[in-house]
């Protein structure tokens, strides 16, 4: 996707992204920050995608993540009241490092998949697409999508567990 194509898409996505930010923060200024941050992050994903693909779902997910991330950074972020959640520990430098290492392990596990399985896995993980939408996009039946997704996830799960134990 070229920068020009992305700029055009960004223009159409901006109202939705500010709406997501406004629903979270209730303020136009912070909503603008969310939209800006989300578009920056979206560009990193979009660079490697085709020009004609629909980025709206991915953009919405990124914007929601940005709301949570900006909120956490700006004040003492209180995660939802779940027992076992430790806000300080969850975001310590040590945990961030562990997070990065785990991501590398995930990348290694995904590299074991076939190209088709990897594509499916990333469509679900990144864009959060349900099986029927993937079926529409790829032209594969919903049952086949579910079956391939299941196979891919089980492979990644087994590989990831093996790598995490090492």
């Amino acid at each position: 996707m070229t920068q020009q194509e992305f700029e055009h898409i960004a223009y159409t996505l901006r109202p939705m992204l500010t709406g997501i930010g406004r629903a979270y923060f209730g303020s136009a200024d912070e909503a603008e920050d969310v939209a800006q941050e989300a578009l920056l992050r979206l560009w990193r994903y979009a660079e490697s995608m085709d020009g004609g693909c629909d980025l709206s779902r991915l953009a919405a997910r990124i914007a929601k993540w940005c709301c949570v991330d900006i909120d956490r950074k700006r004040r003492a972020f209180a995660p939802p009241p779940l027992p076992g959640w430790d806000a300080e520990a969850a975001h310590s430098p040590h945990d961030e490092l562990v997070g990065k290492e785990t991501q590398q392990l995930l990348d290694k596990a995904i590299s074991q998949l076939s190209p088709r399985e990897r594509e499916l896995f990333e469509m679900q993980q990144l864009e959060g697409l349900p099986a029927d939408e993937i079926a529409l996009r790829t032209g594969v039946s919903k049952t086949s999508v579910q079956s391939m997704a299941s196979r891919a996830r089980k492979k990644v799960f087994d590989e990831l567990n093996k790598l995490m134990k090492q």
């Binding site: 709406g19 997501i20 406004r22 629903a23 979270y24 209730g26 303020s27 997910r61 990124i62 929601k64 993540w65 940005c66 709301c67 949570v68 991330d69 909120d71 995660p79 939802p80 779940l82 076992g84 959640w85 430790d86 520990a89 969850a90 785990t102 991501q103 392990l105 995930l106 993980q125 990144l126 959060g128 349900p130 099986a131 999508v145 579910q146 079956s147 391939m148 997704a149 299941s150 996830r153 089980k154 990644v156 799960f157 990831l160 567990n161 995490m164 134990k165």
Partner: protein
């Protein structure tokens, strides 16, 4: 969430049959501290965007119900006084003070009472018309200058 429920959702996730909402709920569970390694692996596979979405929905919901509770209490307390004031206003031609706060939207019959969303939608509608007027007036001035 009970352990059995989490395990059930993990099985559904690995089978590719979990709904997006179930994946978000699962993400909240498996990203807690002191969970088994297999659960952490699921958390990594679900990814930070799923967790972000789950936390976002939870915070927005929490704020909405908090605002609704306060608004409902105020609306109930104010309703009796306002009904009598409205009757007084109608018959005496006097105006009750506009201190009642209402912010409500309807989209094809669905009601939205989130004040910030309602405000944003209303502002959008009004700004749209004024921008149209500004553009039309600017075009007129350009023609005049030609």
């Amino acid at each position: 969430m009970k352990t059995e429920e989490t395990e059930r959702l993990i099985s559904k996730y690995l089978a590719g049959t979990a709904t997006p909402d179930e994946e978000r709920r699962l993400s909240l569970e498996v990203n807690r501290r002191d969970v088994p390694q297999e659960w952490r692996a699921i958390g990594v596979m679900l990814g930070e965007l799923t967790l972000g979405e789950a936390l976002y929905e939870q915070q927005v919901q929490h704020r909405r119900s908090h605002r609704r509770r306060i608004f409902a209490a105020c609306a109930m307390a104010a309703s009796l006084a306002c009904v009598s004031l409205a009757g007084w206003w109608y018959f005496d031609g006097r105006q009750a003070s506009d201190s009642e706060n209402i912010a409500i939207a309807h989209i094809d019959g669905h009601t939205i009472s989130d004040e910030s969303l309602v405000r944003a939608m209303a502002e959008d509608a009004v700004c749209d018309i004024f921008e149209t007027a500004d553009e039309a007036n600017a075009d007129e001035l350009d023609l005049f200058d030609m």
